[in-house]
Symmetry: C2
Subunit: 261 residues, 2 copies
Amino acid sequence: MCELLGMNCNVPTDICFSFRGFTLRGGRTGHHTDGFGIAFFEERGCRVFLDYEPSAGSPIAELIRNYPIKSTNVIAHIRKATVGETTLANCHPFQREMWGRNWIFAHNGNLENLPPLRQRYYRPVGTTDSEHAFCLILETLRERYPEPPGSTDLVRTIVEVTREIAGHGTFNYILSDGELMLVHCASQLHYIVRQAPFSHAHLVDDDLTVDFADLTTPDDRVSVIATQPLTDNETWTAMAPGELIVFKDGAPVAFPTRDLE
Amino acid sequence: MCELLGMNCNVPTDICFSFRGFTLRGGRTGHHTDGFGIAFFEERGCRVFLDYEPSAGSPIAELIRNYPIKSTNVIAHIRKATVGETTLANCHPFQREMWGRNWIFAHNGNLENLPPLRQRYYRPVGTTDSEHAFCLILETLRERYPEPPGSTDLVRTIVEVTREIAGHGTFNYILSDGELMLVHCASQLHYIVRQAPFSHAHLVDDDLTVDFADLTTPDDRVSVIATQPLTDNETWTAMAPGELIVFKDGAPVAFPTRDLE
């Protein structure tokens, strides 16, 4: 199994603190030793760092821990290979362009017997169930909407495909187009919304404390999503299985997703 | 203007030596100070490192100079912004998936009044003429070939689109799908094919010499393509304006591209 990390903010924020704890699970405090990846949106642009070295020892992960890239949407993944070889083509997060925007996706869980892809627009490059599922989401959106739809239609369609894919196994995922961050919980995902008044946070995986009050302005708002809570002195919210939350500008936004079941 | 660097090999090879000289042109020996990017193919997978910091001082470029990623196809670019803002979305190389493979593209030169994109399959994310040209190439291929064609048809179509785009300005580019590397010269590009017997090479941009005989086996073959020669003690071949060369397994391969003009 793998672990997921996401961050959605209203102002560009660096993820060094959370990423430090998270990547220690890749070979030191955890056993997710088959690579890692992290994607940073910066306005419409996106950069993805991938490595199949365990994240605890990867020079690329070390760079990310120390190089404060400020981003409003970040998706990271550490991998314990279950399906597909440990090759670069199978490393999350996956990236595609749709409607002139970058879309980024990372998944935790196993999926079996997924419906075949029509492959009109998107095909997997690697051999994972995860990239197949990502292509299913994008293909459905693209076939239904030649031009980008409004957020409500977008989210409704994603919920619909998610329900279908979730019937094939465990489908925890984080998906973003650089504006919205869609988070689906199948078995385990937690989140926290940090906003003023900011205070101290202490990592679970390392003896490191940060005082967010020193690093933020009163208007900042940051949501962090992770498979397991990354800090041990804050209250994280456990998502319910089957729940899909859309984050925007650092906080969950209401979409009538439950009505759609 | 920008500078391009490409490497195509028959066995995975690291580009640390060439990249060292190349990136010094990004702010130290050259004035290409608006970012850089480098893409490494590893089998079907691909990782792209981008930064809008000048490459001479970028922590990401420093990582690449010191972390020997072995790849059979590498495309790098250092940028002096002429069209489009200095944002991540405008950094080369650009990446898209087509037919289940990654395609990578970097361009040097200015293009004006390009034909509009039909946008059935690909749209630019940023605002550069370069990404527009890349999407034109892919869109034409995708419309003509729903399934991947043979190499001859592929190259013939790329040559055809290239001629059309080249009529709109200066179109030096490097394009790869991880197997073939297509290099088009509009104004300046040089290449060298290194094979046994290997010898010493000395950088133009730094006082650094490497003895490739120590690093290679007799069967290795590596082509390096660059806007300007990177070494001062080897013989680089200048490409002719209008010439398109296809590299595979470390050497130019013959396609009847001249017949197609």
